[in-house]
Point group: C2
DNA sequence: TCGTCCATCTTACTCGGAGTAGGTTACCCC
DNA sequence: GGGGTAACCTACTCCGAGTAAGATGGACGA
């Protein structure tokens, strides 16, 4: 066969392969329980190679997170271009997000669970992903809302991100809830507020 | 001095002391970077003692989380008793929460950061804390809202918890935002929705 | 006052996994 | 084909979680 001896692969390819395997292992076993030896084994390469490419275990995790973030950014930004108004933009963005987390469970799992190390680069990296989303929302809102209280607008953006993240986790436990339904639930509370459902 | 030789302390007291120190160290260094030797040192006791009391490093973390959760539950439940209506109950609960995270930063830090190990008891424990809050909200809402769509109500509760958690983290970066202000921001979006601010 | 018992505590290890020093080999290009 | 380098490996060190087995302070009965 052509792949009888998987050897001497160019740097870029090997790197992608390593990230792919690592994402798998980290999301299955969890960051702490995953061992570099195991990842190396699955890649079909020796441990020092991983260190050659990523410097440390956390560096490898970082690469996985960055990879996921890039995809998430691409997907959500694309979704909101050409929206008619704020409500439409918010809805499109939410839908893109909920579709993403359904289709790429492993990547999402890393982003949501693996903030293992407070004060470390990895934690900052996950936080950076949220900031990216928050900025997107904030930009979206500043374009469509009355400005005035910047602090309030910022708080609102944080609020939306946190709410959706939690709702996404909830969706993992509820397969029957489609991305469309999740979006609708989110829009219902976000846009109309709880007041209109009070007895 | 009376505490010249800190020795032979009764079990319950030693346990509390250990949890106190561990909470400090975990929230300062982070779970992964904290070492059992260091904690033992600070307690003024040898490492096997920690294992005698908590079985494992994660067990010790668990104890810290449970401790924090108990306090959080107490505080938020007490806050909502005697509320006039849903809006009032929500506002009181939110305020209690935001006050808690300001006054007990370390405890909160553990709850928010230390989900280090996916699939492990500690991760479940943090999740359990959220469930506790979610249930509280859900119960609160079912008492004051038109029922009908249970799934929607559950989603809304998750939504509130996630949103407030994120807003709380945002507050850490903004000392100028008081618990009262945070509560007001949260109520504004939650209760009235974003629609009433759209241009 | 003194011995006995046991909960509390200690020293001195093992073991596994992160990270590394230094040498080896396949492939590209002339 | 032969030199050069990028990709790769073997064989370690080191640190921290977890443990086995023994030492000791002090409460309490005689």
């Amino acid at each position: 066969m052509t792949t009888a001896k998987r050897k001497r692969m160019p740097r870029a390819d090997r790197m992608r392969q390593m990230i792919e395997v690592a994402e798998q292992v980290f999301s299955e076993r969890g960051y702490a329980a995953a061992s570099m030896d195991e990842i190396a084994e699955l890649v079909g390469v020796s441990k020092p190679m991983l260190y050659e490419y990523f410097n440390s275990k956390e560096g490898l995790l970082l690469a996985c997170i960055r990879e996921s973030r890039a995809v998430l950014r691409e997907v959500t930004e694309q979704a909101t271009v050409g929206a008619a108004d704020a409500e439409d933009a918010l809805r499109r963005g939410l839908l893109a997000f909920f579709v993403f987390i359904r289709e790429r469970r492993q990547a999402w799992s890393l982003l949501r669970h693996e903030m293992a190390l407070i004060g470390t680069p990895a934690a900052d990296e996950v936080e950076e992903t949220r900031r990216q989303q928050t900025d997107l929302i904030a930009a979206l809102m500043s374009g469509h809302f009355d400005s005035g209280d910047d602090l309030r607008a910022e708080a609102a953006a944080e609020f939306v991100v946190g709410a959706c993240e939690r709702l996404a986790i909830w969706c993992e436990r509820h397969d029957e809830v489609s991305p469309e339904a999740a979006t609708e639930y989110a829009m219902d509370v976000l846009w109309s507020g709880l007041a209109h459902r009070a007895r």
